[in-house]
Symmetry: D3
Subunit: 290 residues, 6 copies
């Protein structure tokens, strides 16, 4: 039987990744120390592996497919096929940034000022590539964590991941530059991607993941409109997603439906109402596949 | 740039208020000791302030808009514009009552019997207005909390907030009268309400809040009906919200949709089925703007 | 006024049962040590009773209606009317199995090998009936819990409930046979079932429970299709639930809706897309009454 | 090698029993679902078994020694050697009472009034013996728990365990009589008690348990006293435990030490001070073996 | 029977006060919403009342004795007898400070600069007395909590309680002056203090509380010393508490014991060892009554 | 002013290290993300740093003194002065082992069988030194954690830390050999150790830490003995710690005190009693400095 070995990130990203897989339609669960999660698709075998290591095992073929951050693919310099990007509006899969940060009162104003300095980071590979690109010669030391407390006493600067910058601010650090922006990627082993069955299976998984992610940020708006207002109302609804127009049996009324981004709803509902829409309702969506 | 300063209640009402703001379409969050929550609308600056104090700062204009209980507006005697009432079916925003309560075996049977007695309460203003309205002269002392344990040992009666009455019963207290019923109100500073941009912004916020609240207690019912049963089925659906009738391409069948109060669903589903409705489904709603 | 006394299982099944009642449309809640839960239907009085005892009190008429496991009805040998079965996809109401289990290295290979042995179980009645059916004479002792640790030191075999078998494996036990499979049942007192008002009330409750349970495993799929693809697309949708077809005002397009099992969605979405479906969206359902 | 099999109660008494074993000098621990706890004495093998069942397995010799409640020994009618009683001042090992309780407004005033009634209990054996002793014929049904909610709707009376009576009061039940008082007992299998090595081992364990329990309620008081006050001070100290008197090198002063019950300390410290004691200090004790 | 009514602070101070009462020798406990805690002294009836209100009820005689902060006695201006001060090294009963704080960049440098300003505080009485003492006329408004976030937007300054100042710093506030330092006090109703039995009972309670508090910060040091080193060793031990010297039966050796402050132990142990002390041991104390 | 910079391990060892410092006499605390803990000794500045990195910063002189595992000193190959070893009986500071582990059914029986294999570990340095010592050439890859799940699918063997071996067993791994045993060490920077003030300060800290650790596993036994039994009783008490013998004023009785290891108490108490000791009491100790 055909099988696809799928690597999922263990640890801080695990719950958000599992949640996304569930939205995509897979029942998946794992014990707290588990390596082999249960998944209800006989064609998939899942593995829980640290995000830092997934690309390494996709490259060597121990995994056919993996979900991991772009940053760790770069850190490991892994030679893999990137088959999708997963951008998520909520905690977990949203873009993260690796930044160069220094103490508030440091004289460092740009990467050029790091010449001869000492830098602590959990991403030694990314940091060395970055310094090299910028022609800077500095000492990079591996940090086992809590990197943000090390400057200025132990090192001159750090290269660290940040989402909101609040941990950096709390340690009186100033961001100098962004080193790398990273989102979650779906990556495949080269030979798995060339296999007909595996590529088809991978494409289905990616289609469902994208459908689930798209639904996270979209809602269905439904409303009733009299014939003379149809034009005005549809002009307000974003043109990319053509609204569905349906003449009701009650003569003279139309039902309009449209999938729209949730964040514009608060802007357009007052406008739709002014333009004549009645009985406007908003519904949540599980998947959107266009 | 135009800005609206919005006061939200800190403390026990904070989570339910935030939840309602999120349903209305705003992404809002706050640290545990925060005064300035983050909100994703550049035209709004939010502030977290005790529900007891919001009306005071709306009156003085430090806030343009505030969400707070009717009770605290009365307690403070604040001169503000009330622009909306938010009644919510669930914990947090539902009406609360301030009641006069006495020990089970007290001789007090009405407010008149309080003449010369001692009353503990967190709402000294409300209590004094109430006694005055009833022509009763009694001593009112401010209680810092745990008011329900004070009678009969420390005071003769209390005036206290209650939702289910269970805390009063647990302390062997008997409710004599309701002093004040209170719901959450949206209140505006007088000059802000006269400002064209601010009033328009306020009205949009209130429209979305009402839309989110309405959806809390309503669902969408959808069903298929043959032509001859359309009349019988639509007669069961409440008349206020005219159901949407749509002839299906399968000749002879109609699709009927109606937004109904969730609590009548369990009554009407058996009736709808008896009247010929088939494939009845019920869906949740995020917003209902009629 | 007519009243129906309804017994609900206290303890491990309580939360899943309450959740199902809520989905069916009842607001129900109970304190942590409560016997009389609050329910918002004046025609129902609910009681919280151990699942093991409910059938006993339905038989004697202290309860008109009860929700409990088939296993405990058998254990008690109760003479009641079974008016419905509730099978649930998720934790709590899914089928459970009572199994005969022995230590991995036991010589017992079938129930026949138990002759003269000692068996611990929480279900003495079920176990004795099972041994008798199989013509085996063995000693059955009542276990107060933690039965799975008793073999082989204290007993030769156990008859125990299991869902995933993981507790048995963790104790090095091997399943020999299934003794009884059990799902949640709705049972009525015989005379209550003959009472016209009570039977009608019971049937309404069962209809709503079934509607809520059906919705747990189903979703609404909606999509737009051009005229020439309607046949191909509808052939993919399962035939049992005929999809709703509706010609849109935009000439040449149809809207198709279908309630499908959630677990087939991940299979059919790629097929629907290939067959020409566009703007496919998936929505959750609260109830499905066909 | 000689081995003693020791049964300890699993469940609600487990933590207090383990704590007492630790105070006695044994390092003992168990996983949450464990049957075989780890203990640092190679001559002991411990087992975790429900308190209800321990006496049954001590009687049959599967356990040499067990710690369990007197109530369950009676319930099971087990023929075992009782070698010690463990009375503990704190939660867990203190005496418990099984009581006959009825609804506040029941006409039942004594056990005699139960003739022909229905009684729910978790201790069917104790209850039947009690009724028989009193010459009363009543129906006793096994309760799976939550017994206190069953009267008056499902039964007329209950026989239930109670410590403070608060759960009974909360359910509006009135205690009619005490059926049985029970403390924790150390029980031995008859043949184990006759074995020289096992009896000696058991006696050591009991000595240490008693030493640890005695220390729970006692403290060491130490003070300095001038020669002329020695008599007055020692008269205050309880006579059972003769205080240790020691002449200090500082001429004329004596040091007095005494192990006393903790609960009298607050009474005697003011008296000791008045009688001339100085520098009074109180120390905690791990063990007291007199 | 003689009875003493004792008020203990409900809320944040409750657990530390209960812990101190337990160290003093009283078994005391309370449910989470309780007003009447259980205490194992038949001569005492305890009441749980907000720290803010205790002095009010001691003044009026509803309580004979109370434990509360000096700050709230001042705030209420209560006329009571102060019979003891409880200073505690650990969280809960250690001194607290009410401070005047302003935004970091405020021009306010002393209380004099507050003329005509607006101040928020939970202690309106303390604040008004403080301003009056300093001849400053400013507006004081009652704050329901979260006072530290109010400056500078809502008020110019705050008067707020602080222990470490961290909450003030986190809100960018600067301490201008200390308004009041406060420790826990034992206060008595005037007439209760004149009653012979009550005063004697109160004095015993205070003696035990002081004994328990003293033991919190002290330990017993014990060591063996040869005759020639006795002088050197005793000179190191603090002179206030004369060490106990005892000639051992082993000729030439002395045992020395001394109660010392725990915080000097780390300084004197190396010195004692250098001076010839051997077998130095340190023991914890429950009570120290000198 | 003289200052000593002290590095303490952040993370899993932090709480046990803080607890030991507190027993030694230091009040120390830290916020959850803190780098600079508060300590009540003005001559010490503490820093929280990952155990893996402490030896690196002691070597370079950024820290004068550090507490960390022997394993990480070896891993980093740090050139530091080891001034003490801290062996602790309880969780946290007890010895840990790095072991070579392989799947249960692996053919690997000794380190020699690893030739050409792939090994995952968090301690790449220790592993490479170990392989080199044994003349084995194998691939060592850095593991970011969850190493125990990697064999056999991703690697052939792992080198991993273990305390009880339970995590290895749970993953079906077999221990082949111990690679390194490690305890907590106190290490000093070379130049700090040569500084007179710093060395003296370090020696005091180590004395107190050893005193606190010794007390963890010891207790004080005290008993009364008649003259004729003194010899028999003292022979039972371990000879290393000569017991203190003191003639009581009550003629003919002696008080004997001895500090003994806690784990022998349960053996010797029955013997002491048989030999004539009376009123045996056991007390806990905070420090033992011999």
């Amino acid at each position: 039987m055909n099988k696809l070995i799928l690597g999922l990130p263990k640890g801080s990203l695990q719950e958000s990744t599992f949640a996304m897989m569930r939205k995509a339609g897979y029942t998946i669960s794992a014990g707290s120390r588990s390596y082999v999660p249960r998944i209800d698709d006989k064609e998939i075998e899942a593995r829980l592996i640290r995000a830092q290591e997934i690309s390494r095992y996709v490259e060597s073929g121990m995994l056919d497919l993996g979900l991991t951050g772009h940053d760790w693919i770069v850190e490991n310099g892994s030679d893999v096929v990137e088959v999708g990007e997963l951008i998520y509006a909520k905690q977990g899969l949203r873009p993260v940034r690796w930044v160069l940060a220094v103490p508030e009162d440091s004289i460092v104003q740009s990467v050029q000022d790091l010449q001869g300095k000492r830098i602590a980071t959990e991403a030694v590979g990314i940091s060395r590539q970055y310094l090299e690109r910028n022609g800077v010669d500095a000492e990079v030391e591996f940090s086992w964590g809590a990197t943000e407390v090390k400057a200025p006493e132990l090192v001159d600067a750090i290269i660290e991941i940040t989402e909101t910058g609040s941990s950096l601010r709390a340690n009186n650090l100033r961001i100098v530059e962004t080193v790398l922006e990273s989102t979650t990627r779906v990556i495949a082993h080269k030979k798995s991607w060339e296999d007909v069955w595996k590529r088809s299976k991978i494409e289905k998984i990616v289609l469902l993941l994208h459908g689930a992610l798209a639904a996270e940020t979209r809602v269905l708006l439904k409303m009733n409109v009299q014939e003379q207002d149809v034009g005005a109302v549809t002009r307000i609804l974003p043109s990319l997603h053509a609204p569905t127009l349906n003449k009701l049996s009650d003569s003279g009324w139309y039902s309009i439906e449209s999938v729209v981004k949730e964040k514009i709803v608060r802007e357009i509902i007052p406008e739709l109402k002014s333009a004549g829409a009645q009985g406007i309702i908003e519904l949540s969506l599980n998947k959107v596949v266009s």
